[in-house]
């Protein structure tokens, strides 16, 4: 069986041919099987985020190939990348990136707006994830009124609403205290049990030493190595 994510000599160079050229990734080759939980560790500025946004179809590589499932995505035009992003990935960002003045429900539904779904289907999906993350009672509240942990769960709910195969989490515990970090990993463990593939970037030892992690990679100056 082919791997779910297959990267072959991926490179990403920002501001190419300019004075401030940055080589964020150089010739990264790796693959992730379906159902795996993979961690990228490394100091900040090492290229973790760049790799995550490449895998998550947010930008295109400068060179190299990337396959997500059966689809070659490294040369896709932006609108099709957005479609892949919408259908395949759920994102948990370092800064949550919620719209604070909107209700929990509205925030969760946002990724579904561009898709042509029936309203009933949208709401039943929302109900399912809200229940799963224990947010049902809070769905009408504004995000700004919630506690940090609840906001964290809203962000996860939003990542799950489009029923993604792959969850991408960029430093998910960076702003959390140890209790919340623990809670987050419990949720992620559940997701993994449900068959989701998870790709993290983190430099928090609590995360990369957690039992749910299958494989670890370390990044340094845009180069990926297998971590010991």
């Amino acid at each position: 069986m082919a791997a779910l994510i297959q990267a072959h000599t991926l490179s990403k160079i920002y501001n190419r041919h300019q004075a401030d050229e940055v080589r964020a990734l150089s010739e990264v080759t790796f693959s992730v099987e379906a159902g795996e939980a993979v961690v990228l560790q490394g100091p900040s500025g090492s290229g973790k985020t760049s790799l995550l946004s490449l895998i998550g179809c947010m930008t295109r590589p400068t060179s190299g190939q990337l396959r997500i499932g059966e689809k070659e995505v490294s040369r896709l035009p932006e609108p099709f990348l957005a479609r892949v992003r919408r259908e395949t990935f759920g994102f948990i960002f370092q800064q949550l990136n919620l719209l604070r003045d909107l209700s929990v429900l509205d925030n969760i539904l946002l990724p579904l707006y561009p898709a042509d779904l029936k309203t009933a289907e949208m709401h039943s999906r929302a109900e399912r994830v809200l229940e799963q993350l224990n947010l049902l009672e809070k769905q009408r509240m504004k995000v700004a009124q919630l506690s940090g942990g609840e906001q964290q769960r809203v962000a996860i709910a939003r990542a799950l609403i489009n029923q993604p195969e792959i969850i991408i989490a960029d430093e998910p515990t960076a702003h959390l205290d140890s209790t919340l970090s623990k809670e987050l990993l419990v949720i992620l463990e559940h997701l993994k049990k449900d068959g989701k593939t998870i790709v993290f970037a983190t430099h928090d030892p609590y995360v990369y030493q957690h039992r749910l992690v299958d494989r670890r990679f370390s990044m340094h100056d845009g180069v990926l190595r297998k971590a010991e």
Binding site: Y14, N15, R16, R60, P61, T62, S63, S74, R75, L76, P77, E78, P79, F80
Partner: protein, 335 residues
């Protein structure tokens, strides 16, 4: 020059549309010269993003150009009272020589702009965007046409002198004078009617054939039939449809039916004809596009919708035409 609000709106809108198109065409030129779908460079990404700007600009500009046709006719109707002898838009159009030319360009623009917009939408749905080059070449050709439209409109409106005594539809579309218009009006009713319904029949049959078969030939034939139907219908409107609408044996004006006295019936009538013919043209034209797989899939998906739209529009058009002929008290054929 007449400072009429409608004229100001037309000139302002057309200038803005032209300015937007000029910018779009310039962007299009840059896209054309540097487009490289194989590259994943930052520059190519910027170009891809520019295509959105180009299509947004052109969508707005072309939508306005199409609306401006309506506003143009509306304005002609409104200012006809300023011209001695003008009883409807025909009189205003006759006030100087450019009027009819402006109308012609507006009709051409309606079709070309609508075709461009539809093909652009097709292209944007494909992953490999095979139409980028033909699309932007087309844009470069359309932009001067919009400029010409603006220029002619400007000189038409500035050239309008309210004192001019113009000939109106009464005198333009009467039998016996020596012009294209009077020849149209003078077409014998019975054969014209026959030709018209024949053309409409052929169009509808081809439409059904296209819906049931994938043969390219039918689409080409439908293209020809749409063109034919369009011109035959215009002739038929002057020759006999107008007579039935006005219930008068000598009133051949193609514009009076847009006025409130006739319940604005002209708008659905012309709307049905224009939209029907447009969607009849599209499937044939789509056959001429490069045959890439992605495009082929998209065409198959959308074509059915085009054909159905053409069908309904023409049916509405025919119903409006046939209504007064079959149900009205006015009988022309016995004259």
């Amino acid at each position: 020059m007449l400072l009429n609000p409608g004229i100001l709106a037309l000139l302002l809108g057309c200038s803005l549309a032209f300015a937007m198109l000029l910018y779009a065409a310039w962007l299009g030129l840059r896209i054309l010269s540097r487009w490289d779908p194989q590259s994943s460079s930052e520059a190519q990404l910027q170009l891809e993003r520019r295509t959105y700007l180009v299509s947004t600009l052109t969508n707005y500009a072309f939508s306005f150009e199409i609306l401006s046709g309506l506003l143009f006719i509306f304005t002609l109707e409104d200012i006809h009272s300023l011209f001695i002898g003008a009883m409807c838009a025909t009189g205003t159009l006759n006030a100087n020589q450019i009027g009819w030319l402006v109308l012609l360009i507006k009709i051409v623009l309606f079709f070309t702009a609508a075709i461009w917009v539809h093909f652009n939408r097709l292209d944007q749905r494909t992953e490999d965007t095979p139409l980028v080059r033909p699309k932007y070449l087309g844009l470069l050709l359309l932009t001067p046409l919009v400029g010409l439209d603006l220029l002619l409109q400007y000189s038409y409106f500035t050239g309008l002198q309210p004192e001019i005594i113009t000939s109106c539809c009464g005198s333009l579309f009467t039998l016996g004078s020596d012009s294209v218009a009077s020849e149209l009006a003078g077409l014998p009713v019975e054969p014209t009617m026959l030709t018209f319904f024949l053309a409409a029949g052929i169009f509808l049959i081809l439409l059904v054939l296209c819906l049931s078969s994938k043969l390219a030939l039918f689409r080409y034939l439908l293209f020809v039939a749409s063109l034919g139907l369009f011109f035959v219908s215009l002739a038929a409107i002057v020759s006999f449809i107008s007579l039935y609408i006005y219930q008068m044996p000598t009133h051949h004006c193609p514009f009076d039916m847009l006025q409130a006295n006739y319940g604005f019936i002209g708008y659905p009538l012309y709307g049905g004809l224009f939209i029907g013919c447009l969607y009849g043209l599209l499937p044939g034209l789509a056959q001429l596009l490069p045959k890439t797989l992605s495009l082929h899939i998209e065409i198959e998906k959308t074509e059915r919708r085009w054909l159905l739209r053409a069908f309904f529009a023409i049916v509405i058009f025919l119903l409006i035409v046939a209504g007064p002929i079959l149900l009205g008290p006015f009988i022309l054929l016995s004259y």
